[in-house]
């Protein structure tokens, strides 16, 4: 609500996060301009000051256009850019830009579909990335040195503080986006030049010393084959405008599950350990290898050894010693992508036998539902833990493949255990919400019948497995048998003590006293911490997440409500809210500043900086860790303390975002020769056929999205009376023009067809959907809420069944926000006739045959 301008792009915030949206409305009441950039006119659009209708999948063109507008008109916040970004760094002359060669960067290997990032380096220095592909050099060049690096990794890149050197980042950026002119952007996105310029003016006029602009996105940005680069593009723009680390600025990700942020911080994800430590890879033989390959030597990742050793001590206690590398060898190793889609492929191929589904319903909620259900049907055993009988548990009874005859119940060998779980009122524990704020819940009632918390289930499952393996001398069982797994329990069901788990996450010193902050962690084995960024949540032995001083008794920051990681900071990198000398950029945008008298950083938020490091501090040559960062290095998780306009490492698909079309696009790429992301990940199997790009057989674009009244795959909403009454049926939104073109009737039925399958939905003809002019053709977009499945009170076909799986190479997330289809009036064929109907479409489109193998 401190923003002067809020751009919501890739999100329908009013619909999907309605209560959070009250703060956008507060900002608007205080004079902020609210802009909604979206293919659809939605509940968010209805209250925005400006709506920019545009084509899904064109966001990098749009953001690139804004970057170009800022650079060409010299509207960047120059004092901020020179103080806090890598704009002055010189890029190595081996680098060729995607603007120069067909839309490809240097280093691309067409045989493997991968980039070798060596040529993207800065002149004179290797820069370890703070996230992403941290050890790309090690995995791709096992024996070679890091480009540009000396053995200690201390080289500084050459810089040009005037930002005029032709190879400095600032100029590289300018050239890269030079072709993203307002006219070109308008053509690619399907908006008018005036609409584009209106946004450009609003954003630049509301950025600078006195004003800030915030960008808000959700899965409308992540669900693309270039999703990571969408967010990078926003980061470049917001950094150029000086909107990072400042009140009312930033890039806000709105997340869709109660603790999806927490399950990323304390990750149930294959590629991470708690606190964004990377999972060890096969080429990390020792703890030293792992730290050396993945950690920057400078900045706060320079202390990764302390975070890692503290984690190993939390898990293996006294069995983790300096002599055995703190049991690092007991960690399993990854070798590439072990994400959800690869796992399901392995299930279909019967290489993976057992599966736990815990509060997730992939048969409805994931792209390509058929692929998900085939995975389930080829398992040996499946454990589903949920409150309701979800489609992923009953696929063998009533899945769509049973109806078509592709699968027969009597031939499905999967053994299914449905175990009822406790709900949020029946257990104590913490959720981390979308702004990193951790809040504690208290148990109100006991769970009924066989229902148990996940804490109970996994603790007792682990205990049972350990008992069965007790006495084993097999080396592979040692990590299990030595695991610290002795939480106190209480009650007739022996519920583990959840506060003791929180205390383990927080960490303790050698005497068992709770630590207060992550800077107390040590690499010598004298401290523990189950998740270093959460250290401090149990400071002084007090559950800080359970603080509930009413908001009405606090200032707007409300530091005494819950606890935000890290260190209860509410705005990350807030050192950047003050200028190079440590003075607030303006009285109006004051947040954190240097107090000369006290000799420390003070302000309205917990400073995201070492408290007593003065703004004029210069590191000694050869310094490591945080000591190596200067008093102006606000972005202190980065190895150079700078915000990266240009990312020399860490990304799989280029150092700068480039507009590529979605894999299933109705149009050619009007900006570059390269049509789509050359480094994307594909799975070419019979159950995952893709529609050809620019196919006349699949001429329309469809988008999937959420409704206020339903929740994800529907297990927590389609089973409830009120919500099912409010949104009773699956529908598709089409424009009057498309309805005329295909003979669709409002409230009638339509069948939507892709190379995967055909589904049916009620038709909603609405002016909210607008046909767009892209190049020389009209593009129609169809909206599909994705909540429905066969079980519950409100049932319907799953929209996700229409999608194929093709993925972003950085994070392995599927492109589910843009794909193509055909639409016809009437209901879909039933039974085996459906298969023939879709097979005919595939034949006409020149797509290989489908199937279940």
């Amino acid at each position: 609500m401190h923003s002067d301008c809020i751009v919501i792009e890739g999100s329908n915030m009013a619909e999907a996060h309605p209560v959070g949206f009250q703060w956008v409305m507060e900002a608007k009441r205080r004079g902020a301009t609210v802009i909604h950039v979206d293919p659809r006119f939605t509940r968010t659009t209805a209250v925005a000051d400006e709506h920019v209708p545009f084509r899904g999948g064109a966001d990098i063109a749009f953001l690139g256009g804004l970057i170009s507008y800022v650079l060409e008109n010299e509207l960047d916040f120059r004092d901020y850019v020179t103080a806090f970004t890598n704009a002055a760094d010189i890029v190595d002359d081996d680098f060729t830009d995607s603007g120069d060669v067909d839309g490809l960067f240097s280093g691309y290997d067409p045989d493997t579909g991968h980039y070798d990032p060596a040529s993207w380096a800065l002149d004179g220095a290797y820069r370890a990335p703070a996230a992403g592909k941290r050890d790309a050099w090690e995995s791709q060049m096992p024996d070679g040195p890091r480009p540009g690096a000396d053995p200690m990794g201390h080289h500084e890149p050459r810089r040009d503080e005037t930002l005029t050197h032709p190879r400095c980042v600032f100029q590289v950026l300018r050239r890269h986006y030079a072709r993203y002119t307002p006219e070109a952007v308008a053509r690619v996105c399907g908006m008018s030049v005036e609409q584009f310029l209106q946004v450009a003016r609003s954003v630049t006029e509301n950025s600078g010393r006195d004003r800030t602009t915030a960008w808000v996105y959700s899965v409308g940005w992540t669900h693309h084959t270039v999703g990571v680069q969408y967010i990078r593009a926003a980061a470049i723009l917001q950094t150029l405008l000086g909107n990072m680390g400042r009140p009312g600025g930033g890039i806000l990700a709105l997340r869709g599950h109660a603790s999806i942020q927490g399950s990323t911080d304390i990750p149930t994800l294959f590629d991470l350990l708690p606190g964004y430590l990377p999972m060890p890879s096969a080429h990390h033989e020792t703890l030293a290898d792992y730290i050396d390959a993945d950690a920057a030597k400078t900045g706060f990742w320079g202390d990764m050894d302390a975070y890692t050793v503290s984690l190993l001590k939390a898990w293996w206690g006294d069995a983790a010693t300096p002599e055995n590398d703190f049991a690092f060898d007991w960690m399993p190793r990854i070798t590439g992508d072990h994400g959800s889609y690869v796992t399901v492929k392995n299930q279909i191929d019967r290489k993976s036998f057992g599966y736990f589904l815990v509060g997730e319903n992939p048969a409805v909620g994931h792209a390509n539902g058929k692929m998900q259900r085939l995975g389930l049907a080829n398992l040996e055993w499946l454990v589903v833990r949920d409150m309701q009988m979800i489609e992923s548990a009953s696929f063998w009874q009533n899945g769509p493949e049973i109806e078509t005859g592709e699968l027969r119940t009597e031939e499905i060998g999967t053994e299914v255990f449905f175990l009822p779980c406790a709900n949020h009122t029946e257990k104590s524990g913490s959720f981390t919400q979308t702004q990193r704020l951790v809040q504690w819940r208290h148990e109100a009632v006991h769970p009924p019948g066989d229902s148990r918390s996940e804490l109970h289930f996994y603790f007792h499952l682990g205990k049972r497995i350990r008992e069965k393996l007790a006495g084993s001398t097999d080396e592979r069982d040692r990590p299990l048998l030595e695991l610290t797994w002795d939480y106190p329990t209480s009650g007739i069901h022996e519920e583990p003590d959840v506060v003791s788990v929180l205390a383990e996450i927080n960490g303790a010193d050698a005497d068992g006293r709770p630590l207060s902050t992550y800077t107390e962690l040590r690499a010598d084995g004298s401290t523990t911490a189950g998740c270093w960024i959460y250290t401090g949540i149990f400071a002084d032995g007090v559950n800080q997440a359970d603080r509930r001083k009413p908001g009405s008794e606090q200032d707007l920051v409300a530091h005494e409500w819950g606890w935000a990681w890290p260190a209860n900071r509410r705005v990350l990198y807030n050192r950047a809210s003050a200028d190079a000398e440590g003075r607030p950029w303006s009285e109006r945008k004051k947040l954190v500043w240097w107090d000369e008298e006290q000799g420390r950083w003070v302000g309205h938020d917990v400073p995201d900086f070492e408290a007593t490091k003065p703004p004029d501090y210069k590191p000694d040559p050869g310094a490591t860790g945080p000591d190596a960062l200067a008093g102006t290095d606000a972005f202190n998780m980065q190895s150079d303390g700078k915000a990266w306009l240009y990312a020399p490492s860490g990304l799989a698909d280029g150092p700068l975002p480039t507009h590529y079309e979605p894999v299933e696009s109705p149009v050619a790429n009007l900006l570059h020769d390269q049509q789509d992301n050359p480094a994307r990940e594909e799975m070419n199997r019979a159950w995952n056929r893709l529609n050809p790009s620019q196919s006349e057989v699949f001429p329309y674009v469809f988008l999937t999205y959420r409704l206020t009244e339903h929740h994800t795959a529907g297990g927590m909403s389609r089973t409830l009376g009120y919500l099912s009454e409010l949104q009773p049926e699956f529908f598709c939104e089409v424009s009057p023009a498309l309805a005329r073109e295909r003979g669709l009737e409002h409230m009638g039925w339509a069948t939507l067809i892709s190379a995967r399958t055909a589904i049916e939905a009620r038709v909603m003809v609405t002016e909210r959907m607008k046909p767009l002019r892209i190049g020389d053709r009209t593009v129609h977009q169809i909206g599909l809420p994705y909540h429905w499945g066969s079980n519950g009170l409100s049932v319907g076909d799953p929209a996700n069944d229409l999608l194929g799986v093709v993925m972003d190479p950085n994070v392995h997330i599927q492109e589910s926000k843009v794909a193509t289809c055909d639409i016809q009036p009437g209901r879909r064929p039933r039974g085996p006739a459906l298969l023939e109907y879709v097979a005919d479409y595939r034949r006409r489109a020149g797509v290989e045959p489908g199937g279940i193998q």
Binding site: G256, S340, W381, M389, W396, P420, R441, M716
Partner: protein
């Protein structure tokens, strides 16, 4: 009963003469509605909680009477939500008291056509056996280059974004000790 009292009981009279000219409050109360009390008043306790749907993190007050949840309301103390809940959050009471909720173990044997009953302890024991077996059969000591993997691809897990931090922590910790690397949740989606 005097005329005055009788008139005073007549809603039209009260609406015309009393402080409720629009007839939306006291003027239209009958003895029955007058005696009604919000079920939140009769709660034995109010327990502090957080909404389980999206990630905004709205505060919830859980009203409990006789060991059962009678109502869930927005928590006015929360600086995030200031007492508000959206349609989903407002439906939380029906979520936790849903008649279609499954509260006993259901078991489908391989190639079975119906659900069967199963004792919870037996189920956990069977699952423990299956985990040990799948772990062993999917085990990989090294890759083709001889590099140490020390992992299993025999089993996997999906889900976590609807769970508590402490629960995700135990899942990750147990699976790492098992060597089971294929742990994923909604954040990938």
């Amino acid at each position: 009963m005097g005329v005055r009292t009788w008139l005073g009981e007549w809603p039209m009279f009260r609406q015309a003469t009393g402080p409720d000219p629009l007839g939306r409050g006291a003027a239209v109360q009958s003895p029955r509605t007058k005696a009604l009390e919000p079920r939140t008043d009769a709660a034995d306790e109010v327990v502090k909680s957080v909404c389980p749907f999206c990630a905004v993190g709205c505060g919830q007050d859980i009203y409990v009477r006789d060991g059962r949840i009678t109502q869930i309301e927005g928590d006015p103390d929360s600086p995030i939500s200031r007492g508000r809940l959206c349609p989903k959050g407002s439906a939380s009471t029906s979520l936790v008291t849903s008649p279609s909720r499954v509260t006993t173990v259901r078991y489908r044997r391989p190639y079975g056509t119906e659900w069967e009953d199963l004792d919870l302890d037996t189920a956990v024991d069977m699952i423990a056996d299956r985990v040990i077996d799948a772990r062993r059969r999917g085990w990989e000591d090294t890759d083709s280059q001889g590099r140490v993997l020390r992992r299993t691809l025999g089993l996997s897990s999906l889900g976590g974004a609807t769970l508590d931090n402490e629960e995700n922590y135990l899942i990750k910790k147990l699976f790492m000790a098992l060597g089971a690397i294929q742990v994923e949740n909604q954040a990938r989606i």
